[in-house]
């Protein structure tokens, strides 16, 4: 007895009962297709969230003043005065692992341009800020180092500000807008970034030299924060450690003292997001996995009935010389063929369904080779696992009884 013959026998048996074969396959087809579709949706949302985080600048590091107590009352970060311009200067000078650093001061107020007004805030930053937040100027230009040096009243505005202050579509570049009655000349408009995953409008910004905001608006010497960007994402942790050392030395903190600042990276946010979407993917995979098991039980059920139905055939095969192992192999091969064929159809259907979801519901999807491979392997194993019992039953039939079975 050789494998080729067994394969032929199994194939013949399957083609002799096409309807039954198809119905058996159906469970596996649906199982595999749903595993692939669900994982595609899960992976897709995960990737889209990761992409959004990366857009925010995945290497970004935020330093905020913090942990300041005033008579036992913890103060809000914006009112704290522990981050100074000298900190920024020292970081610029000493920090390793950083690609860009920018101080950050901000103030909110009302913008007025002609007869239009709009409430927003102004961010005082340095030129590096564009790199850190991955912003770019679409029309006009960014302000210059010289502007920072002289605390020039110039600004770069986001799309939201532009459309609200200049609703008739005139070019904002070169126009004067007033922030709390202080006039600023618009030198550029930022390229639109849309909403981030938190629902914040990333275009509702006005950027101005930090010197201008500190001296002309707030008249203060402390910073509300420092933004920095690590050279690569992997260096983020090293950079945080390095920054901590610099700031602690700067602030002359003793080893026993707590940090009077907070350093955060996007990594925390991204790991939180990942765990949420990971949970969702797992959930979807579980649901799909259950349908695969149900499909497997379908195989077992129909194979079991098929063994009873084909008792005489099995008896005949045994009487002409099929050994138990031949019968076992035949039924196992049938189960595996059903699973593999069902699996392949399921893969095609699953990939198709994923694209339907993408085009009709506009959900982000991502089909990865490993999910296809995984569901395919699992369905084959399901076939073997659930095909085993009926096959064993067939192999153990007594040929004398089987051949005369009515």
């Amino acid at each position: 007895m050789n494998g080729t013959n067994l394969f032929k026998i199994a194939l013949k048996a399957l083609s002799n009962s096409k309807m039954r074969t198809f119905l058996t396959m159906l469970g596996i087809i649906i199982g595999v297709a749903s595993v692939i579709t669900m994982l595609a949706i899960g992976q897709g949302s995960k990737q889209s969230i990761q992409a959004q985080i990366a857009e925010m600048g995945s290497n970004m590091i935020m330093i905020r003043p913090g942990a300041d107590m005033f008579g036992g009352v913890r103060q809000s970060a914006s009112s704290m005065e522990t981050l100074k311009l000298t900190d920024y200067e020292n970081i610029c000078k000493d920090a390793k692992y950083l690609a860009a650093v920018s101080p950050s001061v901000s103030s909110s107020g009302q913008y007025i341009a002609g007869s239009n007004n709009y409430p927003s805030s102004i961010s005082g930053i340095s030129l590096d800020y564009l790199t850190i937040r991955q912003l770019s100027v679409e029309t006009g230009e960014m302000f210059t180092e010289q502007d920072i040096k002289v605390a020039a009243k110039v600004c770069v505005i986001g799309k939201t500000i532009a459309t609200n202050l200049f609703p008739n579509g005139e070019d904002p570049v070169g126009q004067i807008i007033r922030f709390n009655s202080i006039p600023f000349r618009v030198v550029g408009v930022l390229k639109s970034k849309g909403y981030n995953s938190m629902g914040q409008d990333q275009d509702d910004v006005v950027l101005a030299p930090y010197t201008t905001v500190m001296k002309r608006i707030q008249a203060q010497t402390y910073l509300q924060g420092i933004f920095a960007s690590a050279i690569t994402e992997d260096m983020t942790q090293d950079a945080i450690k390095d920054l901590t050392d610099i700031l602690r030395a700067d602030h002359k903190l003793k080893t026993s003292d707590n940090d009077d600042f907070n350093i955060r990276s996007q990594e925390e946010l991204s790991s939180m997001m990942n765990s949420t979407t990971g949970l969702m993917t797992t959930l979807l995979a579980c649901i799909a996995g259950i349908s695969l098991i149900v499909g497997g039980i379908g195989i077992m059920n129909i194979m079991y009935v098929s063994v009873t139905e084909r008792t005489r055939e099995i008896g005949l095969r045994m009487s002409v010389g099929a050994r138990g192992v031949d019968i076992l192999s035949q039924f196992l091969i049938e189960a595996i063929l059903i699973s593999i064929t069902g699996g392949l159809i399921g893969v095609v259907l699953g990939v198709g369904a994923s694209f339907v979801v993408k085009f009709l519901a506009h959900w982000p999807i991502s089909i990865q080779l490993w999910t296809v491979a995984l569901s395919f392997i699992v369905c084959t194993l399901t076939g073997i696992f659930f095909g085993w019992y009926p096959a064993k039953k067939a192999a153990n039939l007594d040929p004398i009884e089987a051949i005369r079975y009515e």
């Binding site: 007895m1 013959n5 055939e313 045994m318 009487s319 010389g321 050994r323 138990g324 031949d326 051949i403």
Partner: protein, 247 residues
């Protein structure tokens, strides 16, 4: 003459609940190459049990069975399956053809379980066997497109295809009308004439007239074992049976 089957004091007991049923109580005989033996007996005489033993589907409780010189009693199930595949051709009452399968594929079946026969040789031998039973022109007819007589011919071709030491027929004419029965008997006599060894198990005494030897069983023992000196020709009998009107 070469002995094909040697039974020495074969006993077969079945345990049914608390009781022991003695289906065969010491059966001994030898069948030589080229014999056409009818095994007769009423139901309950033990002929089915004997057939199962002869066909290596079962093993005796006691006694020795040599098939073509090979001792069967101590063989395992898989070993007996291989032995059946090489030495025995079965013909059943209800044909037992595979459904929706062509004649040639049905006949090829025993050779499918013999790895040493190539696909081309398998096909060649199947065509040869179908020619021998007069179905050379119906190779690709499916089993559900054939009459009872044709199906039984396919079954006989299937029994011949592995060139067995013995053909075991179990009530092979039981499901057929009289005329077709004799057609099948003619075929068996032709195979006998070609030197095949045939054992025909039946409860129909008429078959005995056309075989070379008759063994009669009763209550698990041999009651009678006689050589037929006056073998009738089934072909002659066939001519006396009128053709069906609607044919």
């Amino acid at each position: 003459m070469k002995p094909i089957i040697e039974l020495q004091d074969i006993r077969r007991n079945f345990i049914v609940g608390e009781e022991t049923v003695h289906a065969l109580r010491g059966v001994s005989f030898t069948i030589n190459e080229g014999e056409f033996v009818t095994i007769m007996g009423m139901s309950g005489s033990g002929k089915s049990t004997l057939l199962n033993l002869l066909g290596c589907l079962d093993t005796p409780t006691k006694g020795e069975y040599l098939l073509d010189g090979i001792s069967v009693r101590t063989m395992t199930k898989p070993q007996r399956a291989v032995l059946r595949n090489r030495k025995i051709g079965f013909v059943f009452q209800s044909y037992n053809l595979l459904p929706k399968t062509t004649a040639i594929e049905n006949v090829e079946l025993p050779l499918m379980y013999n790895g040493s026969v190539s696909a081309s040789e398998r096909r060649r031998r199947a065509i040869e066997a179908l020619d021998a039973v007069g179905l050379g022109d119906r190779l690709n007819h499916k089993s559900n497109q054939m009459s009872g007589g044709q199906m039984q011919r396919v079954a006989i071709a299937r029994a011949l295809v592995n060139n067995p030491a013995v053909i075991l027929a179990d009530e092979a004419t039981g499901n057929l009308d009289t005329r077709t029965s004799f057609e099948i008997l003619v075929l068996f006599q032709k195979l006998h004439a070609e030197g095949r060894t045939i054992i025909f198990v039946t409860h129909n005494p008429e078959i005995a007239f056309y075989s070379s030897r008759t063994i009669t069983l009763r209550d698990g023992k041999i009651r009678d074992d006689k050589v037929n000196d006056n073998i009738q020709d089934a072909k002659v009998k066939l001519t006396t049976i009128p053709l069906p009107d609607d044919n």
